[in-house]
Symmetry: C2
Subunit: 201 residues, 2 copies
DNA sequence: GTCTATAGCCTGATAGAC
DNA sequence: GTCTATCAGGCTATAGAC
């Protein structure tokens, strides 16, 4: 009930939340300003009070969707223990993270497809650089014969591709519902990599 | 110089080729019928002589971009040799295939994001089922303790994610131009999996 | 801070001449 | 088989009342 917080709904935040939904579902050019305003229960013109134009709204939405992700992902690698334990831990936590915020993953995929250089550079430095560095440091200990940059990408791809292909996997031979379970995915990735991890010599 | 083929430019094919470019670059809703007609040097109205509407043009474009891919990918797994040789061969060929037709990969990614159930079901059965089956059969011989469906997805993801992340990798620590070289990617994936392959017991 | 009204342009699609 | 002309509606964005 304090004067500045709570109680009053922050329209800006409502817009960002709905915009995140819609941009994830349909992409930038698949969503109109009217669509976003509509799901917020306001007129399109009112939206321009909060954001100067559609592009700025999109950028603010990305910032909203991507903020704190750097911390979340990086945190996932800072656990103590042996390299193998830390990797196992990372796989489990990263998988859960991606399963818990599917819109973040989808928006990231869309940015990889449509983002201009400036946006990607910003995302790389502000969001992914720190956690990526943590992962390369980790895998360097485990598999020194591999290029750490490539191995970090491989590790992420190994996990993310299962989510990415979920819509089509159900129509492919052997596809089961359980293959979408983050725990099953994590276990599979760990099993696949286990031999690689066991003999670092 | 025969009467029915060559010589005369097939407008329909020109449209499909240009549509493939544009849909890959900007997605379905990021491209207008006028845009496509423009790159073909014709008016938008003329395009409707060849396709009933935009949706049909898009579907025809997917068919054009995806046709023969089933053969190409499946072919890549039919080489003779030991399981390990065949896997190594598959990795090299699949990587080259994806590097040679980046628009196919991009359109596939867009379909995974935006495709409705019907389209994905069709793509799964007409394009990916056969080669996917070939891959699961292969990996089943190599790593019987893994779920073949999941392992096939992992294998594809391991390769594709390097292409998918190319736009942002250059801004991430340790990123080099050589990481985009299909030969380097294939070698990396093989090295990563080599320990897993060596002791199938 | 939200509304109505509207400008100006782009959209998918059609009609009909050639 | 391509063109011009056009429609009806959607788009982003602005103006100005409340």
């Amino acid at each position: 009930m304090s004067s500045k917080s709570a109680k009053k709904i922050d329209t800006r935040l409502v817009i960002l939340r709905n915009a995140k939904h819609l941009f994830a579902q349909h992409g930038y050019s698949g969503v109109s300003v009217r669509d976003i305003a509509g799901t917020c229960g306001i007129q399109a013109a009112s939206l321009y009070h909060h954001f100067p134009d559609k592009q700025a709204l999109y950028l603010a939405t990305m910032e909203y969707a991507f903020s704190d992700k750097a911390d979340e992902i990086a945190e996932v690698t800072t656990i103590a223990g042996s390299p193998k334990e830390r990797l196992s831990d990372f796989i489990g936590r990263f998988t859960t993270l991606m399963a818990d915020d599917p819109e973040f993953r989808i928006l990231l995929q869309r940015e990889l497809l449509d983002g201009d250089e400036e946006r990607l550079k910003l995302a790389a430095h502000e969001v992914f650089e720190r956690p990526f560095k943590a992962i390369t440091d980790l895998v360097e200990e485990i598999a020194p014969e591999c290029d750490p940059h490539m191995l970090a990408i491989s590790l992420a791809g190994l996990i993310l591709f299962h989510f990415e292909t979920a819509p089509i996997r159900r129509y492919l031979p052997g596809g089961k519902k359980s293959h979408n379970d983050p725990k099953v995915i994590a276990e599979h990735v760990l099993t696949l990599l286990s031999r690689t991890l066991e003999s670092p010599q």
